[in-house]
């Protein structure tokens, strides 16, 4: 009897689940993202408007009831003023943008012909080359950066080779310089440039190039007038996929730049872990997000357009 009741209870749940399963499917990931993605941002935004305090947590409350039941609201913009007035933060901010954008341009100049070369390859070489581009993307990011530490060190492979060939007598300092950071970014983010470019070029219509050639256009001219404009969506997607993460990069400036290259991601990490200044770290995070909002929106816009085109 009891078991029968139990059964019908389960059955009714199952029936309701079958009727409302779409809602269940949506609601589970939705709640997860609200809790672990959106909610944390509100907390960071809140802390960025607080003052540092020697306590746990090390910041003042925004809404305080402790003064005999009278609610006091504390919002301070001191952290943002502090960042703007401190030349260290401003310089770091601009330095990050400079390094990330230069590295993006280098990646584009190298990645574009590589992607085009893959598209123009034969049916056997093409999947192999594509696989070769994807493989490094799946291998540990940290270890790929580490590989360059061995190449660029004063006693590293490149210096040893150049000395043994007699080109130089003293090792050239490469590791812990801005140059090393550029190499690191270009090396690790190159697949993010090549893959969107490849996806875009793959859809190109070869007959357009032939038509241009038939009408007497030189290859260089055809490239700038036909191919490049048609591959702009790929160029934009690839460039943003390199620029956005490179701006906030922490590992590369830390391992390859040593203490000599200041980037915003590294400052944030250090502010947080060494100085435990949460309000300033949070303000740096908000400032960094502010810098990246526009590129992120442009990227989303183009992704949306690309999805509609399909």
């Amino acid at each position: 009897m009891n078991a029968g009741k139990h059964d019908s209870f389960i059955n009714s749940i199952m029936r309701r689940l079958q009727e409302n399963w779409r809602t269940v499917v949506i609601i589970i990931p939705f709640i997860w993202l609200l809790m672990f993605f959106l909610f944390p941002f509100f907390i960071v935004a809140k802390i960025s408007l607080a003052e540092i305090k020697i306590a746990s947590p090390p910041f003042t409350k925004m809404v305080d009831w402790s003064d005999g039941g009278i609610m006091t609201v504390r919002i301070v913009f001191d952290n943002f003023l502090y960042i703007i007035n401190d030349s260290l933060y401003v310089d770091t901010y601009f330095n990050s943008v400079k390094i990330a954008s230069t590295a993006t341009i280098i990646s584009l100049l190298l990645g574009y012909p590589i992607a085009y070369g893959i598209v123009r390859s034969g049916p056997i070489a093409k999947p192999i080359l594509l696989f070769m581009v994807i493989l490094p993307f799946w291998t540990s990011f940290l270890l790929r950066v580490y590989a360059w530490m061995g190449l660029l060190a004063d006693q590293g492979t490149i210096n040893n080779l150049l000395i043994s060939l007699g080109f130089i007598n003293e090792p050239i300092r490469m590791l812990y310089t801005e140059f090393a950071v550029y190499i690191g970014i270009v090396y690790t983010y190159m697949p993010f440039m090549i893959l969107p470019l490849y996806a875009n070029m793959e859809k190109l219509d070869g007959s357009l190039n032939e038509a241009a050639a038939d009408l007497g256009s030189k290859p260089i001219n055809t490239f700038f007038k036909v191919t490049l404009p048609l591959t702009m969506p790929g160029v934009i997607a690839g460039s943003l996929l390199v620029f956005i993460p490179a701006t906030g990069e922490y590992v590369i400036p830390d391992l390859l730049g040593g203490g000599n290259v200041q980037m915003i991601g590294r400052v944030l990490f250090n502010e947080f872990s060494r100085n435990t200044d949460w309000p300033v770290a949070s303000a740096v995070a908000i400032a960094m997000l502010f810098l990246l909002v526009l590129p992120i929106i442009i990227f989303q816009y183009y992704q949306g357009k690309a999805a509609e085109d399909k």
């Binding site: 123009r120 070769m132 940290l142 590989a147 190159m190 956005i244 590992v251 944030l268 992704q303």
Partner: protein, 279 residues
């Protein structure tokens, strides 16, 4: 689009591939170096593999990293699949724009921001509810699921849009209820995307340093955290040995995954053709 490849493109391809692979090949070669100084060749040897295998610290880190990666990949695949289905197959619903935005945002969000915000959230939760008591396995796994599910969702969304709905339509024409269509047709057809999504989430988790450094507590070192703390001080031959093993494992896994995907794609094309002929 095939066509002739100019000499310039061939040269650029060669340079590009050399640029990609020479550093990794050297990393592997120097792992067999006897010398304690990584770039100074001291003869072939496997002594650093022995050092590596005898290190309890390394084994503990491998253990915790694999556990996190397994749990993360499984949950991220389920959540990512649900999210992708909601976005591609359910039409309009309330909050769809917010949902879509939150789903892709982790893809482009700098890791330092994600890590920082998750850490302050865990600390706030602890202050309010006393949970999570310690930061470690649970907090790292939650953080990893949150960003990996976005990658999984993108993979599955691409597959959902790409595979079309002709089989699903055929099934409902034959009287299958929507839920039955989902479980009997859509999800089985998603298998290759689910596998590649799972593998992607697994590798992303094994690879993550920055977010794990933020949300882990003392004593819970994942493999990247351990590697990072060691190579910060300079080159280490045992890390070269570890790198070689990781590269090997990854290469084998990708080759297998590529094979599975390739076979499924062929079978799929056949299914699609048959379904279209029936009409």
């Amino acid at each position: 689009m095939y066509g002739k490849r100019s000499r310039f493109l061939t040269i650029m391809l060669t340079i590009g591939m050399a640029f990609f692979y020479i550093p990794m090949i050297l990393l592997v070669v120097y792992s067999f170096n006897y010398s304690k100084l990584v770039p100074v060749w001291g003869g072939w040897s496997t002594r650093w593999y022995k050092v590596l295998f005898e290190s309890e610290e390394v084994w503990a880190a491998v253990n915790i990293s694999l556990k996190i990666a397994l749990v993360n990949a499984t949950f991220a695949t389920i959540l990512g699949m649900l999210a992708a289905l909601s976005m591609v197959r359910f039409g309009k619903f309330r909050g769809r724009t917010l949902f879509g935005g939150m789903l892709v945002a982790p893809l482009v969000m700098p890791e330092v921001i994600t890590g920082l915000s998750l850490l302050v959230m865990f600390i706030t939760l602890k202050q309010l509810f006393g949970w999570p008591e310690n930061r470690g396995f649970v907090t790292i796994t939650i953080a990893h699921i949150t960003f990996s599910m976005a990658y999984v969702a993108v993979t599955i969304q691409a597959r959902l849009t790409g595979m079309g709905q002709s089989l699903e339509e055929a099934a409902s024409d034959l009287g299958a209820k929507p839920f039955k269509v989902l479980t009997a047709i859509t999800i089985p057809r998603l298998t290759p995307a689910l596998i590649s999504g799972w593998l992607l989430a697994f590798t992303l988790s094994l690879d993550d340093l920055v977010i794990a450094s933020f949300v882990s507590g003392p004593g819970a070192n994942t493999l990247p955290v351990l590697i990072f703390s060691r190579i910060r001080l300079g080159l280490r031959p045992d890390i070269n040995a570890l790198a070689t093993i990781i590269i090997l494992v990854v290469a084998v896994c990708i080759a297998v995954a590529a094979l599975i995907m390739f076979r499924q794609q062929k079978r799929d094309l056949l299914d699609q053709k048959l379904a279209e002929q029936e009409r």
